[in-house]
């Protein structure tokens, strides 16, 4: 019997290794897998490459991971925010590398990785600093930039409900990058509010089929672990 459920959140992240590339879901705090990130911080691995839309807010989640000095590189669209002081400090100190990617290209490159494409021509960014040095091409009278897929060793995402096969449904705008990150990572780990019995998720409404999810772990809202 296949059960992708993990009893503890610490076990779910136990094999994330030094130097791993880790996708982290969430847009701002919506969909941010805080408890998975806390468990990752507790593991004391470093030199991580983080792929996420932002680079942490305030003192929790990604910001805490960065504060703890575990991150070597961030691939994101929007690192600078009013309360992104931990990223800012590390970046200004030259301790974190930043690859800035337009948000839609970030999504498209993650999706391309999940779908096994080798590269995509996207119009976004053409003629800007963020396309400097990149291959471009005019196709049907419009200009495009060649962008490559972004794969990752792990994805940490947050969903609302899962079953033991790893099928996921999300909640409102917390969905954001979750479905495509699950597809693009070798090991996708989802923290969910509830693990429900097999067959209780509507097969027409499953957003992420279990094939894209390797581990699920139930996290009571606000629970310690």
């Amino acid at each position: 019997m296949i059960d992708k459920g993990f009893a503890s959140i610490d076990q779910a992240v136990a094999d994330i290794f030094d130097g791993a590339s880790v996708m982290v879901g969430g847009f701002g705090t919506a969909g941010m897998p805080d408890e998975l990130i806390d468990a990752l911080i507790a593991r004391n691995v470093g030199e991580l490459t983080i792929i996420s839309n932002n680079a942490g807010n305030g003192e929790t989640g990604l910001a805490a991971l960065i504060k703890a000095g575990r991150v070597r590189k961030v691939i994101c669209s929007f690192p600078r925010q009013a309360d992104s002081h931990h990223f800012d400090a590390r970046y200004r100190a030259g301790e974190i590398e930043l690859e800035l990617v337009p948000q839609g290209n970030l999504a498209a490159r993650i999706q391309a990785a999940g779908a096994g494409l080798g590269a995509i021509f996207t119009p976004t960014g053409f003629g800007t600093l963020l396309a400097e040095g990149k291959e471009t091409r005019r196709i049907d009278g419009k200009d495009y930039v060649l962008e490559y897929p972004i794969h990752a060793d792990f994805a940490l995402i947050k969903a609302q409900r899962a079953d033991r096969w790893g099928n996921l449904v999300y909640r409102k705008t917390a969905r954001n990058f979750g479905p495509i990150m699950a597809m693009a990572a070798k090991t996708a780990i989802a923290q969910v509010a509830e693990i429900v019995p097999l067959g209780s998720l509507d097969p027409e409404a499953i957003v992420t089929p279990g094939i894209f999810v390797q581990r699920v772990v139930q996290v009571a809202p606000g629970a310690a672990h």
Partner: protein, 216 residues
């Protein structure tokens, strides 16, 4: 000279959004346009973090941290709204399914180049978000901004000096002093506030502005 205030400017933009339009309102000033959309028009607001059919801010105490807009403010979902993931959301944008995107700007060139993501100051940490995708994706990109900087320099320019967000992507600029149509032939003044003349506007901007023929 009757400069439009922020509310008046938002209301002016809102007037040009037709019923049935799919619209993305950028962070900051453009978000205010939502407050002035005529209640008798059904207009679909998209937010690139994964919702379509965005409604107004919730009543105090009704905020849901998992129901936010791209500016990370709490919002609501209208009946008929839908949630989707980021790749689908940006497919809406990049694929030309959004009719109108309204953005703020540091500078816009007369042929429609947009600079709104980065001042290019040394030491500034760059952050782009969805700006570049929004700029080039929609069928029409509108900019709303004050025409002049606090120092009196025109933000409508011959050529942007800030780093670009997108090339030749802005079709119309709404400012506190005038509305401009942009294109390969440069900027055309579509309307001006009371008391402003085309000569004065040329002087303020330093641009050889054309004047649109009055509408029938």
């Amino acid at each position: 000279m009757n400069r439009l205030n922020r509310e008046q400017l938002a209301a002016r933009v809102a007037r040009d959004i037709p019923e049935g339009a799919y619209v993305n309102l950028g962070i900051g000033l453009p978000t205010m346009v939502a407050n002035f959309l005529p209640v008798d028009r059904e207009i679909f607001l998209q937010s690139e973090n994964g919702l379509l059919g965005m409604g107004p801010a919730p009543e105090p105490g009704q905020e849901d941290p998992e129901l936010i807009n791209a500016g990370k403010q709490p919002v609501t979902l209208l009946a008929g709204g839908a949630f989707f993931h980021h790749a689908d959301s940006f497919a809406m944008m990049r694929g030309g399914h959004i009719d109108i995107c309204v953005l703020g700007a540091f500078q816009v060139s007369t042929r429609g180049d947009l600079a709104n993501w980065h001042t290019g100051e040394p030491g500034a940490i760059p952050a782009v978000g969805g700006a570049m995708d929004l700029a080039i994706g929609a069928k029409q990109t509108f900019v709303m901004m004050e025409l002049l900087t606090k120092q009196g320099a025109s933000k409508l320019v011959e050529r942007c000096t800030y780093p670009l967000t997108g090339l030749a992507c802005v079709s119309r600029v709404y400012t506190d002093l005038a509305v401009f149509d942009l294109g390969p032939d440069g900027a055309t003044v579509v309307e001006m506030v009371d008391g402003l003349t085309i000569e004065k506007l040329r002087e303020l901007t330093g641009l050889p502005l054309a004047l649109a023929a009055p509408r029938g």
